[in-house]
Symmetry: D2
Subunit: 355 residues, 4 copies
C-alpha cells in the first residue's frame, strides 16, 4: 500500500477536522501542519506529537510532501494553491475554490500543466444523504424534477471579508449542480444587510436550470435556528433532507399532483388529483463526509483519476456565485450564468468560459 | 343582549367553519346558509335543522338578516358583497377581499355610503400566537426588527381561477402588515409554474418595508410537507412561530449578534460577539382564531366600531398583491407598492390610492 | 335507509363529541340530549335547536328512541345503562363499561335477555392508526411479538372518584387486547400518589400475555407533556405510534436483532447481528375514530350483528383493571388475571368468569 | 503546571473516547494504551504515534505512570483496578465500578490504604444538562420533587456477560442519586427476556426514595428508537431532559396542579386548579461530559481532593443494582436497598454496608 505524505495549511475553524481525518487514514502519512498562529500549532503538537508544525507554509515544500490541503481563508486560496502546485504538490482546497472564476481557471490550467490533482472541498457531495438522493434522482424515483430548494441558516459566523452568500451558498450550489447534473442558465438574488451596512447576511437566491427546473437557496448568518434542509420535488415523488436530524436524514414522499389536461378552460378544483402514499426514510450507512472527501483526494493521487469535485467542479460553483454577485450589484435583477466549455488537451482537460 | 341575524353565503371548503362558529355564538342567530349546491345544503340541514337553506343568495335579502359572511370564490366577492351592502347588510368577506384594489375601494366606499360594517377575514390577525407576537414586538421585546419571513406550503389545493400567490399569500401579507404596522414600499417575486404552464404554484416573494426591514414569503401548492412558519428577527431577540405545532407555537430566542463598530476596517471575525440565552415558549391561552374573528364582526356590528380587519385592511393586502402581480409580469423585477392614503369624511373614512 | 332515533345522556367533557357525531350521521335522527346541568343543555340548544333537552334521562324513555349513548361518570354507568336496556334501548357506554366485572356481566346478560345491542366506547379500536397496526400484526409484518408498551400521560384531568388507572388505562388495555387478540395471564402495578394521598395519579402497569409477550402501560395525570404512544416490538419489525403527531402517526422500523444460537456458551457481543433497514410511515386515510365508533353502533343496530367492542370486550378490560387493583392493594405483587369463558346461548352469547 | 502520566487499559467501544480526551488535556501526558487486540492497538499507533501500546496491561507498571483509566468489560474491573492500585496508580474505572458491592468496597478500602484516588466513570454527572438540572433542583426551582423517570433504550448492543440492567441502568441510577442527593429505600423490577431466554433485555425498574419520591427507570436493548430522557416532576415546576436533542436539551415547564384541600370529602373535579405557564429552554454552555470527567480525575490527582464520583459513589450504584437483582430473582417483588454507612478514618473514609 502506497503511503501519501500530506501537509495541511490552516488550523483555524475547519482545519482541525481535515487534520484529524488525514491522520486517521491508513494510506496517509500526515507530515506537517502550517498555521500562522503559534497557539493553534500548540494544539496540533498536543494532539499529534508526531506531526511537524510550521508557521510559514513555504517550509512545507522541503518536507517531501506529495500533497497539501489548503484550509485557509478564501482570499488566500489562489496564491497558496498556486504556490503549492508550482512546488509539485497535489492540492485540495476548501470551498470556495477561489474568489473569481479567473483565479479558478488559473489553478485548473496550472494543475494541468504540472500534472497534479486539483480538488475542491465540496463536502456535501460526499455526504451519504446527498449521495443517496442523487442515486434516487438518477434512478428516476422522483420522475422529472420540478424544483429544489435549500435552507442553510443559523446564527453566525459573521465574517469581515466575505458575505453570507460566498460563505454558505457554495455548499448549496454544489448540491444543486450535483443533484441536477446541470448548471443554471440564470440567477438572481435578494441580498439583505441586517447587521452591517453593505455586508449581506441574509440572501434568497433563485437559479433557473434547463427544462424549467427551479432552484432556490436561502442562506443567513442571522437566524434563530440552525437549519440545513434540502427539498426536492419531482413529478412522481418528493424528497426532504434534514442534515440536522440525527437519524431521519431523508424522507421520500410518495405523493404528488396530476394537473388538469391542457386542452380545456372549464376546469375546476376537483380536476386535480392528488396521490398520497407512504413516506419512506431510507436506511443510510453513515460515514463522515469529510472522511470520504479525504479518501477521494488520496485515491485520485494514487490512481491518477480525476476527483469527483475537481477544479472544474470548483469553477462551476464560482461561476454561479459571480452571476449572483452581478445580480446583487444590479438590484436583484436576473443575470445569465455564463456557460462553461470543457476542452480536453493532452489526455487531460482545460476548462474555460465560452466567451 | 342584542342578537344579530346572520346568513352565510358559500358552504364549500371553508364555509362550514364559519357556519359552525356563527351558530355557536350566543349573540348570533344563524338564520340561513346559501350555496349553489343542493348536496352541500343537505349537509347544512343535517347538522343544523333549524337553519334555512337557499340556493340563490338573493333569497337571503328577504329574511330579516343583519349581516352576512361571504365565503365564496374570490372572483365573486365584489359582486356578492356589493349586492349585500346595497341590501343593507353588514358584510364579512373571506380573504382576499377582492381581486383588485379598485374593487376593494368600491366596497369600502359603498360600505361608507350605506353605513354598514365591511370586514375581511384575515384570520391570522385573530390567531392567539400572532397576537402574542404582535404584543411582544410592540413592547419592544425584540428590539428593532431586521426581517420577517414566512413559509406557507403543502400539497394542494390547486385552483383553476387563482394562483398560489393569491390563494396563500394574503395570509402572510396580512401577518407582515399587522406585525410591522407598516406597508412595504416595494415587492418582487420569483413565481414558478411547475404543474400547469403559466399558473404559479410556487413563489418566493420579497417585500421591502421602511427602516430597512425585509419581508420574505414562500408559498406553494406543491410541497411534501405542510409548513406554516413565521420567523421574526430583531436586534435583541428572535421569534419563531410554527402553526402546525400543537403546543409549542412560539419560541422566543434571546440571542443575537453585535456587529463590529463601523469606524474601523481592520476587523476580524472575532469582533462580532454573539449572545446566546434561554429560549422561552410563552404560554398561550388558545382559542380558535375564526371564532375570535366572528366575535369581532358581531361586536363591531353591535357597537359600531371599526373592525381590526376592516375593508381598508383588506385593500392594503390586495394593493401588495397587485405589486407582486406586476413583478410577476415583469420577470420578477422589483415594483413599487403604491402608497395608500386615508381620508376621513363624515366621521368615517374614505380610502384611496394617493395617485 | 333506516333512520335510528338516538339520545345522548351526559353533555360534560366528552358528551359534546358524541352529540356532534351522531347529529352528523345520515342514518341517525338525534332526538334528545339529557344532562343534569341546565347550563350544559343551553349549549345544546344553541348548537342544535332541533334537538330536545331534558335534565332527567328517564324522560328519554317516552321519546320513541331506538338507542342511547351513556356518556356520564363511570360510577353511574351500570345503573343508567341497566335502566335504558330495561326500557328497550340499544346502549353505547363510554369506557370503562362499569366499575366492576360483576356489573359488566350484569349488563351483558341483560342486553342478551332484552335482545338489545350493548357496546362500549373503546374508541382506540376505531382509530385508523391502531387499526392499521392491527392489520400489520395480523399479516405477520412484525413477526412474533416480543412486547408492547404504551404511554398515556399529561397534566390532568384529576378526578375525585377515580384514579389515573381507571381513567386512562382502559384505552391502553383495550389497545393491547385488540392488537394481541389475547388476554393477559397476570398483572402488576406500581401506583404512585403524588398529589393526594392514596389517590393514584401515576402508575406503571405490567401485563404478561401468553407466549412470553410482555405488555407495559404508563399512565399519569401529572406529567409535563402530553404523550400518547404505543411501541410494538416484533422479531422482524418494530412499530411506533404517536397519536399526538399530526401526520406521522405510525413508523414501521425494519430492524431487529438475531440472537446468538442457543447451543454454545462461548458467545461474545459480535454474535448478535443487527438488521437496520428503512423506516416506513404508512399513509393513513384519516377519519375521526369517534365517528367510526358511532357508525359501528348504528350499523350493529340496523344489521343485528355484534359490535367489535361489545359488552364482553368491555368486560375483558374491566377484568384486567380488577387484577391491577388487586396488585395495587397487595403492594404491587403480581396477580393473576381471571380467565373469562364465553358461552353461547340462543344464537347469542352469555359471558362469565370461569370461576 | 504539573503533568500527569496517564495510561488507558482497554481500547474497545468506549476506550477510544477516553484516549482522545486524555490526549488533548494540557495537564496530561498520555503515555500508553493497553489492549489485548493488536488490531485495536494499530489504530492507536496510527492516530497517536507518540503513545506506547502494550497487549499486557502489567507492562504499564514499569512506565512511570501516575494514573490509569480502566475501560475494560465490567467483569474485569475489580481485578485490574486492584492490580493498578497495588502498583501505586490512581484509578478511574468505567461504570459499573464492579459487579458486586463487596468488590467495590474492596477497591475503596485498598485505594484508602495505598492513598490513591479511586474514581468511577459516572459520566452523566458531568453532563452539563444534568448538572443544570441538579442546580435547579437544589435552588428549589421545582419545589418538592414528586417523581423522576428515565428512559434509556435503543437497539443493541446486546452483551453475553451482562444484561440490559447492568449495562444501561448504572447511568440512570447515578442520575437519580445525584439529582435527589439520596438513596432509594427499596427497588423492584419487571425484567423481560425477549431475545435470549433468561437474559434480560428490557426492564422497568421502580425505586422508592425517602419523602415519597418515586423513581422509575426503563432500559432496553431492543427498541426501535434511541431514547435518552429524564423527566423530573416537582410540585412547582417540571423538567424534561432529552439527551438526543441537539439543542433543546432541557425544558422547564412552569406548570402544575394544586390538589383539593384535605379536609373535605365532597370535592369534584373542578377543585383541582392547574397552573399553565411558560416553558423555558435554558441556554447550556456545552462541553463533552467525558472531557469534564477526565479533568475531574486529573484535578483530584493534582489537588488530592475526593472526586465527585468517587469509589463510594460507584458503590452506591452497585448497591442499588444488587437490590434490583434480588427483585429479579424474586419474581419482581419489592426489595429493600441496604443502607450504606460512611466511616471516616485517617482523614479519609472507609465505607461499608451498615449490616
Amino acid at each position: 500500500m502506497q503511503t501519501i505524505n500530506v501537509g495541511v495549511i490552516g488550523y483555524g475553524y475547519w482545519g482541525p477536522n481535515q487534520v484529524r481525518n488525514f491522520n486517521e487514514l491508513d494510506t496517509v502519512n500526515l507530515v506537517a501542519v502550517a498555521d500562522q498562529s503559534e497557539t493553534q500549532l500548540e494544539r496540533v503538537k498536543k494532539r499529534y506529537a508526531h506531526v511537524e508544525t510550521v508557521t510559514d507554509y513555504h517550509d512545507l515544500f522541503a518536507m517531501g510532501l506529495d500533497a497539501v490541503a489548503v484550509v485557509t481563508p478564501p482570499a488566500t486560496h489562489h496564491a497558496i494553491a498556486m504556490d503549492c502546485l508550482r512546488n509539485g504538490l497535489h492540492v485540495l482546497i476548501e470551498k470556495p475554490i477561489t474568489l473569481s472564476s479567473a483565479d479558478a481557471l488559473d489553478l485548473i490550467r496550472t494543475a494541468e500543466e504540472v500534472g497534479k490533482i486539483l480538488m475542491v472541498g465540496h463536502t456535501m457531495e460526499y455526504n451519504p444523504a446527498i449521495r443517496e438522493m442523487k442515486a434516487m434522482i438518477d434512478r428516476g424515483v422522483l420522475g422529472d424534477i420540478h424544483y429544489i430548494n435549500t435552507v442553510r441558516v443559523n446564527l453566525g459566523l459573521f465574517q469581515s471579508k466575505a458575505n453570507a452568500i460566498w460563505d454558505l451558498a457554495p455548499h448549496d450550489i454544489s448540491i444543486l449542480l450535483y443533484l441536477l447534473g446541470a448548471e443554471p442558465v440564470s440567477a438572481n438574488v435578494d441580498g439583505v444587510s441586517c447587521v452591517t451596512d453593505g455586508h449581506v447576511d441574509l440572501a434568497y437566491i433563485s437559479l433557473r436550470f434547463p427544462n424549467n427546473i427551479h432552484g432556490h437557496i436561502e442562506v443567513s448568518w442571522l437566524s434563530p435556528r440552525k437549519i440545513r434542509q434540502v427539498t426536492v420535488v419531482g413529478k412522481d415523488r418528493m424528497l426532504f433532507h434534514d442534515d440536522v436530524e440525527p437519524v431521519e436524514k431523508i424522507k421520500v414522499f410518495d405523493k404528488g399532483v396530476d394537473g388538469p389536461p391542457p386542452y380545456t378552460e372549464t376546469l375546476e378544483q376537483f380536476h386535480w388529483s392528488y396521490r398520497h402514499g407512504d413516506v419512506t426514510i431510507p436506511y443510510l450507512k453513515w460515514y463522515e463526509p469529510l472522511r470520504r472527501q479525504c479518501e477521494e483526494f488520496v485515491d485520485c493521487i494514487v490512481t491518477g483519476r480525476t476527483p469527483q469535485t475537481d477544479g472544474f467542479n470548483g469553477l462551476r460553483v464560482v461561476n454561479v456565485l459571480e452571476a449572483i454577485d452581478k445580480s446583487l450589484q444590479n438590484g436583484g435583477a436576473e443575470q445569465p450564468v455564463e456557460a462553461l466549455t470543457l476542452t480536453h488537451s493532452n489526455g487531460r482537460y482545460i476548462n474555460g468560459h465560452s466567451s
